[in-house]
Symmetry: D2
């Protein structure tokens, strides 16, 4: 495990089908690195709602999440409504939460920081 | 003309085919309401480059521009590369610049202000 | 009501807050114009799942839905996962289904027809 | 070189800065695997215009191209206007065309085949 680097600089790895989900202690420890907005359903699901002023900004954020998900090849469920994007993470092959979900969550926390034309979001 | 409201709160109207483009004086007066980043090619084209730290943020912005364009039903040319979105505006039916182009440009100036989850971009 | 034109060529109108939802008979009659894939929860919600071979094609379709929604200014809830987009429609101001939802549903049925570079989807 | 697999199943690799572009013979040989719509500017640029019936379908396709580009981490220049997406490929580090450009072009040829809800585009 690449413990030395912050979570948001790590990348998902492939877990073979049937790998067990994280234990509660591990999930708690990783959760401590995330924004307080994340809701965790034990070791099953991790989700956060991001709010916006209109549909356009919500969908623009969803597009950035989609591009990040395709880049990391770990895809959340995205629910977009007027002014809101709910991202829900889990790992299909482990039937619950893996380290991958916390890595992507940490990257999304950075993606959600205010941005506009200008320097990169790392 | 709805001169009382700021340009960014106005909406494009339909110009019949063959309507002449704005005169240079009108174009100059409207141009004064825009960000200094806009380049104007006389009364023919209006364009601005918006820069970003990576492809993902550039394309996320392009998506917000596309949604705005579809809402206002006035569509620019959009060129997206790594870290950059160039928006070029003109009005097909007038074969050059109309007031519509300055209205959409003013809306894009607001769209480009730093934003993230939080209050609306008007 | 513009009964003469097919539903997919009509456009949403604004309903003032507090307008009652459609009655069950009206909802049924409008529902008859839609693809069989739509699930209707009485006069409360209308939803359809569109399936795709991967996340990329699912999100590409979601983007087209988003642009249509912004154009018609009637916004569904969109849930995107790997290979699937679920669209759920209702009208906020009527607290249930209005004619607007069936109009947008009919437009989405056409949007979902196979397409590629080539002629327009009306 | 993974010559055994069709081009569209291969993936871009990283070329160090200063790697020379392909020779004309190599470029020609790879070009033979692509759709006739591609225009090649010697060993400098490769571009293809994809046409659509409206802005919405054009931008929906651009989004699928963007997701593919982010997945393969080889990013074209994308120019979207009403009814058209022009994709231009080259490799920054070789200052011209590399095998990567032909791989992504071959993937885009497949992406452009008519599609809708249903089986995956490989």
């Amino acid at each position: 495990m690449a413990e030395g680097r912050p979570l948001y600089q790590q990348h998902p790895v492939e877990y073979p089908d049937g790998t067990p989900p994280l234990g509660e202690d591990q999930a708690q420890a990783l959760n401590a690195h995330l924004d307080h907005g994340w809701q965790r359903d034990g070791t099953r699901r991790l989700s956060r709602e991001f709010t916006f002023g209109d549909f356009r900004d919500a969908f623009g954020f969803a597009t950035r999440v989609a591009l990040l998900a395709e880049r990391e090849f770990h895809h959340p469920e995205l629910t977009v409504t007027w002014g809101s994007v709910v991202v829900t993470l889990w790992t299909h092959t482990v039937r619950g939460l893996s380290r991958n979900d916390f890595i992507v969550a940490a990257k999304l926390d950075r993606l959600a920081e205010p941005t506009g034309p200008g320097p990169a979001t790392p």
